[in-house]
């Protein structure tokens, strides 16, 4: 276990910048998730740590050792690939032992490590099978087992759950979280699935356009997104965004929405035009007449809750959350209450300002 420190690392592919001066410190034992849309550079960043991509500029330190010039096998990290990359002609046992044989580890020790890993992952019975004889979930385990036997300083996961079906993905996610708690190893995990990021991470690193948008705990990122991008990317259903005109004095401000309704809030910002952001759970359906009304367009009943997709008078769209037993039907006029402590305003540069 060890720290991983990235210092202003950059990477270009044929003149196109894909990683732009990223600095990051991952303390020992932390579970860090790189979250971002396709093309944000998250996988590239992980592969740079693994050594599968070169680092053009900047430095990488793993466990106090400068590592940017080391071969992948010498960085003391293990990687779990998206497609598992299990060697098809080898048994599970040989797949797991291959890396250890390559460093000429003593046979008895290899056998012990493979047994230990198989026990941790509850796959003793699979050791003599070949990958083709395993289910997707079992292959996933073997891929993790292959990483565990190396007892690496850090585990690197490249979207490891994306090839599993939905139910198995949820189960494996929980198992991964348990594994991390048990092993207390440093783990870096790449995903574009924000649920995985929220559930697994100690800290989430949100990447966009080759740069880090925000680093923070899952709840930090969710409640206090640093930018318009983060606010929109994290959370499902996504945050609502409405144009708003801010007026008032000091911290006492009033945001006037496009449909003319006014929302009072406490925020220290100069008057002007902003984008107002509010999560669906902060938009409550009111039984009594309220300042803002909208027309329900689509009602999505999810059992425990109901998502009401609304149109305000000026045409702007909004999603509100109601209870599972909501009586609202599409076409109904709905009164809305905003939780003003959960409002965010985004300026022209997309930088977030949070209401108090």
């Amino acid at each position: 276990m060890s720290d991983i420190v990235l210092n202003s690392v950059s990477k270009s592919f044929g003149g196109v910048r894909v990683i732009d001066g990223i600095s990051l410190d991952v303390p020992s034992g932390e579970f860090v998730v790189f979250l971002g849309p396709s093309g944000s550079g998250k996988s590239t960043l992980l592969r740079m740590i693994a050594g599968l991509e070169t680092i053009d500029e900047g430095s990488l330190t793993i466990g106090g050792k400068r590592s940017e010039h080391l071969a992948p096998g010498q960085r003391d990290v293990a990687m779990v690939f998206q497609n598992y990359a299990l060697y098809p002609h080898m048994t599970v046992r040989d797949n797991m032992a291959f890396g250890l044989k390559n460093i000429r580890m003593d046979k008895a020790q290899i056998a012990r490590r493979v047994q230990d890993a198989a026990r941790i992952l509850e796959m003793d019975a699979l050791l003599d099978r070949r990958p083709a004889q395993l289910s997707g979930g079992q292959r996933q385990r073997v891929a993790i087992g292959r990483a565990i036997v190396k007892e690496p300083a850090a585990f690197l996961f490249d979207e490891p759950l994306s090839n599993l079906d939905a139910a198995l993905r949820v189960r494996t996610r929980v198992e991964l979280a348990e594994l991390h708690q048990r092993m207390q190893s440093t783990m870096i995990y790449v995903t574009h699935d924000q649920t995985e990021a929220m559930t697994l991470a100690d800290r989430i690193v949100i990447l966009n356009n080759c740069r880090i948008e925000q680093i923070g705990s899952p709840m930090d990122v969710y409640l206090k997104p640093a930018s318009r991008f983060v606010a929109g990317f994290v959370g499902s259903p996504g945050m609502n965004f409405i144009k708003a005109e801010l007026s008032g004095e000091g911290e006492q401000q009033v945001a006037t929405l496009g449909n003319g309704s006014k929302v009072a809030l406490q925020i220290d910002l100069p008057p002007g035009t902003y984008e107002l952001g509010i999560r669906p759970e902060a938009v409550q359906v009111s039984q009594t007449p309220a300042a803002t009304t909208g027309k329900a367009a689509v009602v999505e009943r999810l059992g425990d809750r109901t998502l009401v997709h609304l149109h305000l008078d000026d045409g702007s769209a909004l999603v509100a959350l109601d209870s599972g037993r909501s009586q609202i039907r599409s076409g109904d006029t709905v009164h809305l209450d905003f939780d003003t402590t959960q409002l965010h305003l985004f300026d022209a540069d997309g930088i977030a300002h949070h209401a108090k």
Binding site: G51, P72, Q74, M79, F81, A85, H89, G99, N102, I103
Partner: protein
């Protein structure tokens, strides 16, 4: 499906079957004729009309080929040279294919084009150069002299490269994470993942080498160094050529190839498809 269409399909199928059988018979007839003639007494062979079955069945020509010629030595020469050609061609092509497919080095593209270009040069064009070269190296009438010029098979490099190109790069990366040397990546991952190709190419190379005639015929003048294909030409005596004897030697020469084919039928077909179509 109406009864009409069934009828049409049956007709078409029937015609194709008949055609295939006719073509197969035309192809197989010389083989049949060769075998049957080798079992006839010489005087029956030279009769000026076609007899599909011998009046007198005899194995005397086989006996002659086996006891009165150096066929045993020729067999050994053929086995040694064919195995030599197979092992050396397949192993060097494997390395070359791997390097061209997986390694990045200066001149790689030029090398690849050269190999592709050499594919267009027929062996016959080079045969005089080969002869002079082997003569200068004093390798005529030796196994090495038979083997060396037969090692040029760009098509095998091409097939290997194609196969190695198709191995997903994840495996290479997983191997890199697993601390595998280039040698281990090739021998522990790429070759075992492509065993089918290696066996198929080995069999087909062996058959090529076994059937080779022109070069061994030029490279060897001493009877005891001849391969079996060249040895057949030596089955004559002071009174001239005996067709049945020559045919019996030819049949004996073909036996190992026929056996190899029967044993590895599927692989041979695969290899021929691979090397002929360069896998589309």
């Amino acid at each position: 499906m109406t009864p009409n269409t069934i009828k049409r399909i049956n007709w078409a199928g029937g015609i194709v079957t008949v055609l295939t059988v006719v073509i197969a018979v035309i192809w197989a007839f010389p083989l049949y004729w060769g075998i049957i003639s080798s079992l006839k007494p010489e005087n029956e062979v030279v009769r000026p009309y076609i007899e599909l079955w011998p009046d007198t069945l005899t194995f005397e020509h086989y006996w002659f080929a086996l006891t009165e010629t150096q066929i045993g030595t020729w067999y050994i020469n053929s086995i040694v040279t064919s195995l030599g050609v197979t092992v050396l061609t397949v192993s060097t092509s494997m390395f070359a294919g791997y390097a061209l497919s997986q390694l990045r080095f200066p001149g790689r593209t030029v090398l690849w084009w050269l190999i592709l270009a050499s594919f267009m040069v027929p062996t016959q064009v080079l045969i005089i150069n080969h002869f002079v070269l082997m003569a200068n190296m004093s390798l005529l009438n030796s196994w090495a002299g038979i083997i060396l010029p037969q090692l040029i098979h760009p098509v095998i490099i091409i097939v290997y490269k194609q196969f190695f190109d198709q191995v997903p790069k994840d495996y290479r990366e997983a191997a890199a994470m697993d601390n595998a040397s280039e040698w281990n990546v090739l021998f522990k991952i790429y070759i075992p993942m492509n065993w089918g190709v290696t066996t198929a190419l080995s069999i087909v190379t062996f058959i090529w080498a076994w059937n080779a005639f022109l070069w061994p015929f030029l490279a060897v003048t001493r009877t005891e160094m001849m391969t079996i294909t060249v040895g057949i030409t030596q089955v004559f005596d002071a009174f001239g050529v005996y067709y049945a004897r020559q045919l019996s030697a030819a049949v004996l020469a073909g036996v190992p190839v026929a056996l190899a084919y029967l044993l590895f039928q599927r692989r041979v077909t695969q290899a021929i498809t691979l090397s002929a179509g360069i896998k589309g």
